[in-house]
């Protein structure tokens, strides 16, 4: 019996050992990573709505398409913010500021993929086609995929352009209906991409024009390979790309909606870079030596807008009093974890229109109480603070911010009720003007300061739903319009400083913070740079 047991334990140990060997073969050592195919994996936050940023202003769509698949006529220099040549090698403006002539680059190849083989290189026809798609309502492609071009409509680019003509194969002339100095900046935004007219023609002949937005063709550094919802977007290198690019052969967007999972994947090396680290994750990233966290002041502003169409918020003195009641620095500490700078105006310091001497409202509850009582707002007055239900760079936690402000307002005798709805309902009700005040903000799409002044506070922006204060001032509108008729930055800055002064007198909104933008990536990745003017760029990104 004893011998039997001895034999059995030998038998069992043989089983265990062989099982172990099998296991070890399965878990081959992790040092095989250099054997992986050459490519960059970016953990992104969601599914793109399409692969055409003309159709959608959401950051997810822009990130995945604008700078990967497409090029623009002009680009922003990421460091200086200047407008630099893109597909247009040079441009000239007529003396009256109405006619722009673009000289196009030659021999720029469109993507050649499984579904399209270009027969010609990029030329004026592609520019005319791309512009006319959103400009001309009778264009065969205008209504394909919905016929709405949110960014272009919101800045009025479609109405600004009177005509666009092909002069010769590599020259295009655009005539405006009125001079506007932000025109070139708008052409450099993520949304003014150039599509292939030849591809469009081919699709139309095949009866499937809508594929232009889901199986895209462009001239950008990466060409589309495949997309699986909730899983990944796969790109291959566009080897004939006209600019310098890294030798990265593949670019993959690994769609990971959970931010903690994105961070975990970044730690294990399953991602090379991740989208939108949350403020609470920043310290974790800083502590890991294999991870790098870049930060840059963002072109954004978070603010508290008062509904100036409702009494008593139509009184500038009341609005000033409310702003005085809030301790901005405490909010910055608690909500942004110090990853933002206090905002004195709606213009962030990285913009050339920034006024370094603009006054920041101080925290003064006594003065606030006095002003409120003087203007007939009695102890126990009730108002609503609407707090965004979503996380945004300019306001990572509007709910919590509203709760803090509730306490400050109680000290000056005001009962604040916090209101929040699901995001699309929230915006719909804001557009109806049902709020007393709202915590919201704005991220710029281009480096031009007009992109802050116009959408946030002009009269016309009340209807297009970006003027949350519903504030309308003829004086302000005149200043903003006048600034655009000048092309010289100093001339324009004069009008903008006047506008900023007007805002701080009238206080239609209380600017709170300009938040930093973050980019987290692994230390073996090079070439990632934060693009303050929009979507992420992978052209120069590589890893050994």
């Amino acid at each position: 019996m004893n011998a039997c047991r001895q034999y059995l334990s030998r038998f069992i140990s043989v089983c265990l050992v062989s099982g172990g060997i099998l296991g070890v073969m399965g878990c081959s050592p992790p040092n095989t990573e250099h054997q992986q195919p050459n490519g960059i994996i970016y953990c992104s936050e969601g599914n793109p709505a399409s692969f055409n940023p003309q159709l959608d202003t959401s950051g997810t769509t822009v990130d995945v398409s604008s700078h990967q698949i497409y090029d623009r006529l002009l680009d922003f220099d990421l460091i200086t913010g200047e407008i630099v040549p893109g597909l247009a090698s040079s441009w000239s403006t007529s003396a009256d500021g109405l006619t722009y002539t673009f000289q196009l680059r030659k021999d720029i190849a469109f993507h050649s993929t499984a579904y399209f083989t270009p027969s010609r290189s990029f030329d004026a026809d592609d520019v005319v086609f791309s512009f006319n798609r959103w400009r001309d309502e009778n264009h065969p492609y205008h209504d394909v995929s919905g016929g709405r071009y949110p960014y272009i409509n919101s800045v009025g680019l479609d109405d600004l352009i009177g005509s666009i003509e092909r002069i010769n194969r590599y020259r295009v002339e655009v005539t405006l209906v009125r001079p506007e100095s932000s025109f070139l900046a708008n052409l450099a935004t993520d949304f003014s991409i150039i599509l292939s007219a030849e591809y469009a023609k081919q699709l139309q002949a095949a009866g499937t024009p809508e594929l232009i937005d889901t199986q895209p063709i462009g001239t950008g550094p990466f060409k589309f390979n495949s997309f699986r919802q909730d899983r990944f977007v796969r790109f291959d290198a566009h080897t004939e790309y006209w600019r310098e690019r890294s030798t990265t052969e593949q670019l993959i967007f690994d769609i990971t909606p959970s931010s903690s999972l994105r961070l975990a994947k970044l730690m294990t090396g399953e991602c090379d870079a991740m989208a939108f680290p949350t403020h609470s994750q920043l310290d974790v990233i800083r502590k890991r030596k294999e991870l790098i966290l870049d930060e840059k002041p963002g072109l954004n502003v978070g603010f508290w807008a008062f509904n100036t169409s409702k009494p008593p918020f139509n009184n500038p003195q009341v609005r000033r009093a409310l702003a005085l009641a809030i301790d901005k620095n405490a909010i910055l500490e608690a909500i942004y974890f110090g990853s933002a700078i206090p905002a004195a105006s709606i213009i962030p310091p990285s913009s050339w229109a920034f006024q370094p001497d603009s006054r920041n409202t101080s925290f003064n509850p006594l003065e606030a109480t006095r002003l409120l009582r003087e203007n007939g707002v009695e102890e126990g007055f009730s108002m609503t603070i609407w707090a965004m239900p979503v996380e945004r760079a300019y306001n990572p936690n509007a709910m919590k911010m509203a709760e803090l402000m509730q306490r400050y307002l109680r000290d000056v005798g005001i009962n604040a009720n916090i209101i929040s709805y699901e995001w699309s309902t929230f915006r719909a009700r804001l557009n109806q003007g049902l709020h007393d005040s709202v915590l919201i903000g704005w991220s710029a799409d281009n480096g031009d300061p007009d992109n802050f002044f116009r959408p946030l506070l002009t009269c016309a922006a009340i209807d297009s739903g970006t003027n949350r204060a519903r504030w309308c001032s003829k004086e302000y509108d005149t200043l903003i319009d006048k600034a655009l008729t000048y092309t010289d930055q100093e001339d324009r800055a004069y009008f903008y400083s006047k506008a900023i002064e007007l805002i701080s007198q009238e206080m239609p909104l209380m600017p709170i913070a300009h938040a930093f933008r973050y980019q987290a990536y692994r230390d073996d990745v090079t070439g990632i740079e934060i693009n303050p003017y929009g979507g992420i760029q992978f052209r120069n990104v590589s890893k050994p």
Partner: protein, 343 residues
């Protein structure tokens, strides 16, 4: 034998009929237009809508509608997913294959761990090693699968960095879809660096399959242990010793076989438990299987995907259970019902 087969097949057909009817009625129970819930095609033009209504006989009696629904199911027309707009038959067969693959490897691991330990425990009945294995198995059995998976991720992925924590293979490898089983697909494909892709896929498999296998291993261990104890105490083993066989001969000739035969069916039946656990673990490891798919579908209120996914999973489990039961009864007469006996 014919009788057994007939009985099982009719049972299978009847239950599948009930299941398909249930899934059909879901189209009416979910909010919205039943036709849209069946086809997954929203915002269709009037023309296409009329065409679809005809295809699904929406204007006829419920019975006729059901009949057309089943016909569509069999011709592979399962409708489209709301969220991706892709045909569900393809989506589901892809994700089902991923789940089955994961469960199959987990089952193998459970056998590799559970069987030898079960033998050891059974042979050392009432000894220290038996008690410690038994208590380990109780602990393993009581650990919630999702918790084990999360701990495994924290330890082996995030802290030690040994294994990846999501997916089936690094996205850098573009493995063409063929059978749906990633390891087989890699071997069939002609991607460069095949062996590295294979290794990478194996590394992705380790954590999910092991965390599922923990529970099943403990079940296998306990079933095996009980059977071994029973067999080693039986008279024919004593008789074998009495005939002068060596312990090795006794164990190899009489022990192993007699201990395994009665429990094999029980072990095979663990596959369904495994599949259920796999569906939970998939969501944690972002494994692109049916469990993950169903959870996403529920989040996104993708009614056609919920309907078809539930039907596919339940039909698979049902077919597997009834078929294995049938095979067992055919090959093991001892398990047949004493139907010929008088009661």
């Amino acid at each position: 034998m014919l009788r057994i087969m007939l009985r099982h097949i009719s049972l299978l057909i009847l239950t599948l009929f009930i299941l398909s009817f249930f899934s059909f009625s879901l189209a009416y129970l979910f909010p919205g237009d039943p036709l849209v819930n069946l086809t997954g095609i929203r915002d269709s033009s009037e023309q296409t809508y009329a065409l679809l209504a005809q295809q699904y006989a929406m204007n006829d009696s419920l019975f006729s509608q059901y009949w057309h629904y089943v016909n569509n199911l069999f011709s592979g027309n399962w409708g489209l997913s709301f969220s991706s707009g892709l045909p569900l038959a393809e989506e589901i067969s892809r994700s089902l294959a991923a789940s089955v693959e994961l469960s199959a490897y987990a089952l193998i691991i459970s056998f590799v761990i559970g069987l030898p330990l079960g033998f050891l425990s059974g042979l050392r009945h009432h000894k220290f090693i038996d008690y410690s294995l038994l208590s380990a198995s109780v602990i393993g059995y009581s650990i919630p699968v999702f918790w084990a998976a999360l701990i495994a991720i924290l330890l082996f992925s995030v802290q030690l960095g040994w294994f990846p924590l999501s997916g089936r293979i690094s996205l850098l490898y573009d493995i063409p879809y063929d059978t749906g089983f990633i390891l087989i697909d890699i071997l069939l494909s002609d991607v460069p660096d095949k062996e590295f892709a294979f290794q990478d896929a194996l590394r992705h498999l380790v954590l999910p399959s092991v965390s599922i296998a923990i529970v099943t291993s403990t079940i296998v261990l306990r079933i095996t242990r009980r059977s071994v104890v029973e067999v080693m105490n039986s008279e024919y083993i004593q008789a074998a010793y009495a005939r002068g066989l060596s312990p090795r001969q006794v164990f190899v000739r009489h022990g192993i076989k007699n201990a395994l035969i009665p429990i094999l069916p029980l072990l095979v039946m663990q596959f369904t438990t495994l599949l259920t656990n796999a569906m939970i673990v998939e969501t944690i490891f972002s494994w692109p299987g049916i469990g993950n798919g169903l959870i996403q579908a529920i989040y996104q209120r993708d009614f056609p995907a919920i309907r078809a996914g539930m039907l596919a999973v339940s039909a698979l489990v049902l077919t597997f259970t009834i078929t294995s039961d049938m095979v067992i009864q055919i090959f093991d007469p001892a398990r047949r019902r004493p139907e010929d006996a008088t009661s």
